[in-house]
Amino acid sequence: MSGYMGKILDVDLSRNSYKILDLDMDIAKRFIGGRGLGAYLLWERLPAHADPLDKDAPLMFLLGPISGLLPGGAQLCTFFKSPETGVTLCHSIVGSHFGVELKSAGFDGIIITGKAERPVYLKIFDHDISFEDASHLWGKSTFNTEKILKKELNNHRVKMLSIGIAGENGVRFAGIQHDYYHSAARGGSGCLMGSKNLKAIVVKGSKGFDVAEPEEFYKVYNKIFEMLKRARTEERRGYYLVRWGSSAGSMWHSDVSELDVKNYREAHWEDIDKISGFEFERKSKVKNRGCYLCPFSCMQLGVIRDGKHAGRTATPDFDSTSTIGAGCLVTDHDGLIYLNSLGDELGIDNISLGNVTSFTMECYERGIITKDDLGGIDLTWGNVEAMEALWNLIVQRKGIGEILSLGVKKAAETFGKGAEHFAMHCKGLEFGAYATQAKHERGLQFAVGDRGGCHHYGLTIKEQNHRVMADSLLVCTWHRHFITPDIYMDALNAATGFNFAHSDWDLLAERFLILARAYNLREGIRPLKDDILPLRVHNDPLTSGPQKGAVYPIEKFKKDRENWYKIRGMNSEGIPTKEHLKELDLEFVIETLEKEGLYK
């Protein structure tokens, strides 16, 4: 076996049992891994219209053929039906070291079904697998869970995924944390893991990795390493990732009017310097931390130097700096670092959490909800203490937190009084930190993205293809700026012995994207009704910044959307044509889509 380890761990928590399945190599060749394989497995394993929190709903952790093998190949793909949107599939990618450790243990993935009677954690030491009691960990933060387990196991090299209080309590946008600050959080992976009474997964492996054509593979490896190493100093993105990390991006996105400011009301913010990457680098930065094999190591580890939260460490990134910071108009740098770290500790999607918070702030400002509704919290813009108090309600699902823990879509439906106008989500998943009044391609991406208002889908066809392939091969999507698809295809072929042509990159990508769309159609998504944007994007022109006055007119949006459908081989209603499905070797979905009445 080359590239792949050839085994999938299939765990049933209801019976405390597991099976080690052989990876079907025909399927592997068709769907590669990660996001591609995940869509296929979810289609096969979860019956149509099933409840995402059904005890038999699978929670999958998938790798790819070159993950763990080359610089950038640190990623792990979490795949499941989203408890937050209730309908769409969801993938959530996390970097750092869990993926390589799982591969070292000899697996290409874990599929978890069932529900444990009591809280457990799963221990995977190579093929020695056990279900351990986790009752002493229940109620612990993700940081403390990692610390306690590492101490108990007396091992400084184990890697783990864990959920925090948010996941235990069923917050719909709870995430899974890894290595303290890395999250696979979008769409509610932690909520699903919590519903299964699974507190953590600990993994330690000892196997080495074989590749089909070593000479060729290590040649490609060296090329990738050299390109990335050069990019550290010679490419602007490489340089800024190493120097400031992604949180510096919030300044540049503000400069070009596409940053989430004040719940997406504005896109440019004068105060961005108070909280973004430069400020962090000057005040708090301690060192860079990296994912497995990455010469960039763009995670910026920092510490709050004094004040109430002195000593707390954090690694703020672009998304959380933007949604929790600019989105909620937080100008207190240390306060933002604290909130950022708190979100990781509670085990919650900081992007959705920032969105929910800014949405609630706007509701409060407009009088849609009152101080009494908030349990006495004076939730004014930028009020860090009030935000912390609100988050406590959300993770414990108490008071207004019960409603807010379902995400902005459900909260807006409950609050009414026009709150839907500025509930910034698509298909139930909150926007990923970009205001789209001036940057229309970002709006289109949110509308058509397969997991909802997703910033990770890609702006152009080329970018979409690259992202889905990177998430299937499990390489870092940031590296798309430095490494071309051809190089990855060479690596894939050399690792596995497959003989893909360079041009198969686009074919595979299209296959994965269209399969994901077919899945969502099966579950009830109807594109013309669901591939839409909140009214704020169309109706609330920006009032400041270089793009003052900009909106995304609804007619233009509809035209852009139809054009995208056409390029992607769909009809004007956003349904993939049967011919296109056949071209992509996806005939098996046609019958189901016919039953759904999509081809009248």
């Binding site: 763990g68 093998l69 610089p71 070291h97 390589v100 070292s104 109620g139 612990k140 933060s141 940081f143 403390n144 610390k147 590492k150 400084h156 090299r157 209080i165 290595d179 303290y180 492996g205 000892s206 196997k207 080495g208 990795f209 074989d210 590749v211 070593p214 290590y218 490896y221 060296n222 390493f225 190493k229 550290r232 301690v286 060192k287 860079n288 931390r289 990296g290 994912c291 497995y292 094999l293 990455c294 010469p295 190591s297 580890l301 510490v303 130097r305 004094d306 939260h309 002195a310 000593g311 707390r312 460490t313 500790e345 406590n392 993770v395 414990q396």
Partner: protein, 197 residues
């Protein structure tokens, strides 16, 4: 010596002039990326095999902080002292590189484990995941791959022997706590007081 067994990512070959030297670790620059483990295992094992790497990264709280662990070639060689193999010990010094090398054929393996216990660094000698024999850093026969690949500058190969290796070879826990003292505000660490809710 298993010269030529694997791949040198650096592309260097043994025709290059070998200079005796040592690997310096600048702990605070380590990002924990483990490229060193990969380069090491590729040279020694011919494939990527983090658990069989002669250099490896341990993670400590708070921070977390990553500490690269490798043999620092102490001049008093407690490992050689401890080796019970007779008449010739399994551990010796390579004359060309000055590195401590463990002859895999002679080594009694993890059941013996005396060299590992004697190590000043406590962890620099580990056991091969497949053969269970003791393994350590042999400076890649004089051209260390880890120092070549390290992108952050945490590892460097310095010619000559300025300091005795034992100055480096402290307990990893001590290195981590000293580093935390430097990197984070002293006596203010909140990590042990963190709330769970």
């Amino acid at each position: 010596m298993d010269e030529g067994k694997g791949y040198r990512l650096s592309g260097r070959n043994m025709e290059e002039k070998i200079i005796k030297g040592f690997i310096d670790v600048n702990w605070k620059l380590c990002t924990g990326c483990r490229l060193c483990e990969q380069a090491c295992s590729l040279y020694h094992e011919g494939k990527i095999w983090p658990e069989a790497s002669r250099i490896f990264i341990l993670q400590f709280d708070p921070g977390p902080i990553e500490i690269p662990i490798l043999c620092h070639q102490c001049s008093d060689h407690p490992c050689i002292e401890a080796c019970p193999v007779k008449p010739e010990k399994a551990i010796s010094i390579n004359k060309k590189t000055g590195a401590v090398v463990i002859e895999q054929d002679k080594c009694l393996g993890i059941k013996c484990g005396r060299c590992a216990k004697a190590c000043h660094h406590e962890t620099a000698i580990r056991f091969h995941p497949e053969t269970n024999k003791a393994i350590n850093c042999d400076l890649c026969d004089g051209l260390p791959e880890c120092a070549w690949i390290c992108p952050s500058g945490a590892l460097s190969f310095l010619p000559g022997q300025t300091f005795d290796g034992s100055h480096y070879a402290k307990r990893p826990e001590k290195i981590a706590s000293d580093l935390a003292y430097q990197l984070f505000p002293a006596n203010k660490l909140e990590t042990d007081k963190r709330r769970d809710v």
